[in-house]
């Protein structure tokens, strides 16, 4: 008889290859590919991520043969983070949460006519990340228990603080503007029920009646996708519309794009490896959630590579980093799901629901009794990634042609898609209104160089920091905390991250001081915006003051810091000359373009379908909007406009049918009973 550990490994390999045989033979392969195809579509549509996609599958999964059901769900879950790169790169709108950071450099690359390159580099990185996650899952699943349990609330708090510390490396030229933005993000994150005291915060219940729709909406908290889409997509689309050009500044796209992407991937293999590792490790720990992983690995890429000046302006490494980690995190997140029945991400949470419906209950006994099923899951993850990447790479080139079309023609479709995606987050009117509000703020943030990334990170981590700070204080004394090795290591990493942030900003300072592209900046709008931000901070302090100590301490502290940073910016603006970088105003760069459209007019176009919806309902309004916009503003032919709007109607009806959703009704629907899907 062989030694015990060899015997164990033999069994492991036997199970491993038996599982591969089950996956690639018979009906499960068919269901796997079906899942992959659905996943690709779900990833491409902004606002639908793995979470929504999987929940749509659940009713079909019920009653399926377990292996086929697992293959289908894993197929979907594995490829969403691959295909969500398409909209991120091509139109600057993240297809799902895990493509937030890809927008940063992917979209500028598309503007340079290198969309196909960015896409294929992203897909290869994503493929590698996915396979890395699968391999890690295979190796670690049997020994992961102590690793996961070593991450207590103290460590999770430090991870969240580490997440915030990367703001420094990602923010624009003014650190204080970045900090104000991060505070604003945290304040938006505070809206809704407080984690420690279960009180409603910042929902206007102090001035409005509690059953007012505004209060009810805000009481539920703000959905991540609403913020992510409005903060990134809204200003970009407004800007593109104003300049009335195609996304790509070059009419001819670069040749052999995807081959170049593969080369980019290969020459950055160590970056890919590091970011995959980061993704899996953070995915492994339930409680932090996947939404900040992209930013952490983006920041990691930015701080560890040489010559990082072009980050944010179209550096391929800014695409490769976050794409490697966004796909490797699923493998990591599966470990606590299968081991403890405690899901590590939104997608795995639904996967667990699906597994239960199939009669497979993930939990601590699964590793001992159903190892074959675990390997089936792992192989599905790996095989699905390969299929997904092949399909995406093949489509990269033809789809990137979209970037050469004049944006005004694309705009009505995109605006419809975005409004739909925002509405889909919680399917409420409030989402659309709140997104417009955030979107307008984002336009000015972009113009005056307040980091939108900082706002996003603050928003994503707000809840974790508050919850874990409070829990850590309850669970540990100071001396207990400072003997925990992982806690200490995380402090060091955060300190290093802050240090590199300061270094990057100093470098930017030098560059900014040598070339002064800030000419004749108007200071009035800057002051107005700054005062608005200060008012928000003061408002936060005042309306949370009546809450219990645990409910108010966090928002009040954030509000105070935000006010303080606003004051610092104010002083800087007061003492500086008008050419100083505090007065950064992107408007001046834009004004060189003579054909520019008015800012408020384009914002109005963006939100006009909403006004129309109030009267005739969302469904009718979107089709009308597409028609009017195309025929009046884009000056397309009557036939093209009509066909387009009918196309949009059909698409919405199909979605409404398959996703079981109703569109918000208008005043019209209140008076007349209308048939589906207009009702």
């Amino acid at each position: 008889m062989p030694p015990f550990f060899l015997y164990d490994i033999n069994i492991m390999f036997e199970a491993l290859f038996a599982a591969l045989a089950t996956i690639v033979s018979g009906p499960s392969l068919f269901f796997l590919i079906l899942g992959v195809l659905i996943g690709l579509v779900v990833g491409v549509i902004p606002g639908f991520g793995g979470t929504v996609g999987l929940s749509l599958l659940l009713p079909f999964v019920f009653g399926m043969e377990p292996i086929s059901g697992i293959a289908m769900m894993m197929g979907l879950l594995s490829v969403v983070a691959t295909s969500d790169t398409f909209p991120a790169v091509l139109i600057g709108v993240p297809g799902s949460v895990s493509a937030q950071a890809t927008v940063m450099d992917g979209f500028p690359l598309a503007k340079k006519g290198q969309a196909a390159r960015a896409l294929s580099a992203a897909f290869f990185s994503s493929l590698f990340g996915g396979l890395f996650g699968a391999i890690l899952l295979t190796m670690v699943i049997q020994i992961a228990k102590p690793i996961i349990l070593a991450f207590g609330t103290g460590e999770m708090l430090m991870l969240a603080i580490f997440g915030i510390s990367v703001v420094g490396t990602l923010t624009g030229s003014s650190i204080f503007k970045g900090l104000v933005a991060a505070c604003l993000g945290m304040i938006i994150g505070c809206i809704g029920i407080s984690p420690a005291s279960s009180e409603y915060r910042l929902d206007f219940s102090t001035i409005l009646e509690v059953q007012n729709p505004v209060v009810m909406y805000l009481g539920g908290g703000i959905h991540l996708m609403v913020v992510a889409i409005s903060i990134f997509a809204f200003p970009e689309i407004v800007e593109l519309l104003r300049s009335n050009k195609a996304v790509s500044e070059k009419a001819e796209l670069e040749k052999s794009g995807w081959f170049k992407g593969l080369r980019d991937f290969l020459s950055n293999k160590f970056l890919v490896l590091r970011c995959s590792f980061i993704g899996s490790l953070i995915g492994l720990i339930p409680g932090i959630g996947g939404s900040c992983i992209d930013w952490i690995s983006y920041s990691h890429a930015k701080t560890t590579v040489k010559n990082n000046e072009n980050f944010g302006k179209g550096d391929i490494r800014g695409v490769i980093g976050p794409e490697s980690s966004s796909n490797s995190k699923e493998g990591g997140a599966l470990i606590p799901t299968l081991l403890f029945g405690i899901p590590g991400s939104g997608g795995t949470a639904i996967l667990m629901g699906g597994l239960i419906l199939l009669g497979v209950d993930p939990g601590i006994t699964m590793v001992d009794t159903q190892l074959d099923l675990i390997y089936t899951i792992i192989w599905s993850l790996a095989v699905a990634n390969i299929f997904g990447a092949i399909i995406c790479v093949a489509m990269a080139k033809p789809i990137s042609q979209l970037t050469t079309i004049n944006f005004t023609i694309l705009a009505p479709f995109l605006i419809s898609l975005i409004l739909f995606a925002i509405f889909n987050s919680t399917r409420s009117w409030g989402d659309l209104i709140f997104a417009t509000f955030i979107g307008v703020i984002a336009v000015y943030m972009k113009r005056f160089d307040y980091s939108r990334v900082a706002l996003m990170i603050g928003f994503v981590l707000s809840d974790s920091i508050e919850t874990y700070l409070y829990q850590t204080m309850q669970f540990y004394t100071f001396s207990e905390l400072f003997i925990r090795p992982i806690f200490l290591v995380l402090i060091l990493i955060s300190a290093f991250s802050i240090y590199s942030g300061i270094k990057i900003i100093n470098k930017k300072d030098k560059i900014a001081n040598t070339k002064s592209d800030i000419l004749n900046a108007k200071s009035r709008p800057q002051w107005v915006f700054l005062i608005l931000l200060s008012v928000i901070s003061v408002y936060t302090i005042f309306v949370t003051d009546h809450l219990q100590y645990l409910g108010k301490i966090f928002p009040i502290s954030v509000g105070l810091f935000m006010f303080l940073f606003c004051v610092v910016i104010g002083i800087q603006m007061f003492v500086s000359k008008s050419g100083s970088k505090v007065f950064h105003d992107a408007e001046n760069l834009l004004l060189e373009n003579t054909e520019i459209r008015s800012q408020w007019l384009t914002i109005f176009w963006f939100i006009s379908p909403l006004f129309l919806s109030v009267i005739v309902g969302f469904y009718i309004s979107i089709g009308l909007f597409v028609f009017i916009f195309l025929s009046k503003i884009a000056r397309a032919s009557f036939r093209f406009s009509l066909i387009s709007s009918i196309g949009v109607w059909i698409a919405l009806a199909a979605i409404s049918h398959f996703m079981i959703m109703d569109f918000p009704p208008g005043i019209l629907q209140g008076y007349i009973e209308l048939p589906w899907p207009i009702n």
Partner: protein, 353 residues
């Protein structure tokens, strides 16, 4: 002429009876679930959905619609606003303890009222309290002094959630538990006790059987009591765990008081709302009698359907699925109504600490 009138009369009579008989052939019935997909209530709804489809007249397609606009309270309000006066039973409401609790605690955001609802089907569950092995407590009654003097830390979702049941229970036993809020669900509570950050925890029966019992067998955790199960109007030992005492029993043993009075009544109300009959399928009261009847008999048929029951038992543990108009009414009353004294007590208890 007479023939004609007779023909018209017969035709109209025929159409009236046709309208009376409930038939969902070719229709799609919606289960309105105020929770997100993949959670406990969603899985429950998706498990019983097909069973209703098979047992309703005309075998309609049953779809689950997850409404999360404004969280559980907002989505429940919305059901009442949009379907509170429906007659045809095309959209039914699926509720859970998290919808009942704010109603009992009189949250001012609540605009739904259980008095305007007709229950169709109810599923119950139970809960098991367990501690870490290091505490050295194996029998809560015999080792009560040890339990009381141990470092007791409990990870909670909030005092007006389902966690009202354990927190009030600890208070009634007179044990000083450090309740740490901000846990995102029972899974997070379980993770915290696994890490050793908390020392006492409870899980619903299904989750306990799946995730905690293996640890008990390995000697890492020790179960000490259950919340019990409703037996003939009283809360008795949970039949899934006949060896574990139920909370009322423990209360009487360790305090020497009878399980009576305002506190006990309040706890029992919370227990019914959160565990004993936790999940309901309901129709608005405006629904036609035949519609209610069709749904209730479909529910009764489900209980006799072994395939559907297998899934439900797995999800919720082996507990009674309540069907039949009378049993349901009394269950719903217990789960959602509360006498004014207990209500007053809970309101002031909620604001302490």
């Amino acid at each position: 002429m007479l023939k004609k009138i007779l023909a018209v009369l017969a035709a109209s009579l025929f159409s009236v009876t046709a309208a009376l008989a409930v038939d969902y052939t070719g229709k799609t019935v919606t289960m309105w679930i105020p929770f997100k997909a993949g959670g406990g209530s969603d899985t429950w709804a998706r498990a019983i959905g097909p069973a209703f489809s098979a047992n309703l007249p005309g075998n309609p397609t049953v779809v689950v619609k997850n409404v999360t606009d404004g969280k559980a309270i907002g989505a429940s309000n919305k059901y009442f606003a949009e379907h509170g006066k429906d007659k045809d039973g095309m959209v039914v409401f699926g509720t859970s303890g998290s919808v009942q609790m704010p109603f009992i605690f009189k949250d001012e955001r609540v605009r739904y009222n259980y008095k305007n609802m007709v229950p169709i089907f109810a599923s119950g569950t139970g809960g098991v309290v367990y501690v870490r092995k290091e505490m050295g407590v194996t029998d809560i009654i015999k080792d009560f002094d040890k339990f009381k003097s141990s470092k007791l830390v409990y990870g909670s979702q909030g005092k007006t959630s389902l966690d009202a049941v354990p927190i009030l229970a600890f208070d009634m036993m007179g044990v000083d538990v450090n309740v740490v809020y901000g846990m995102k669900g029972r899974k997070a509570g379980r993770a915290a006790i696994l890490r050793g950050e908390t020392t006492v925890d409870y899980q619903t029966t299904a989750s306990y059987l799946k995730h905690v019992r293996p640890l008990v067998e390995k000697g890492e955790m020790v179960p000490i009591m259950t919340w019990g199960a409703p037996v003939g109007g009283k809360v008795e030992r949970d039949p899934n765990f006949p060896d574990l005492p139920a909370f009322p029993e423990v209360y009487e043993a360790v305090t020497g008081n009878k399980f009576k009075g305002t506190e006990a009544k309040s706890w029992t109300a919370l227990f019914y709302a959160g565990f004993a009959t936790q999940k309901y399928v309901m129709l608005p009261k405006s629904a036609k009698k035949d519609v209610v009847k069709a749904w209730q008999s479909a529910a009764a048929a489900i209980v006799n359907d072994p395939a559907a029951m297998k899934v439900l038992n797995k999800k919720l543990g082996k507990y009674d699925q309540v069907t039949g108009s009378k049993a349901l009414k009394s269950a719903l009353k217990k789960a959602t109504s509360i006498d004014s004294k207990s209500e007053k007590f809970l309101q002031s208890w909620k604001d302490t600490k």
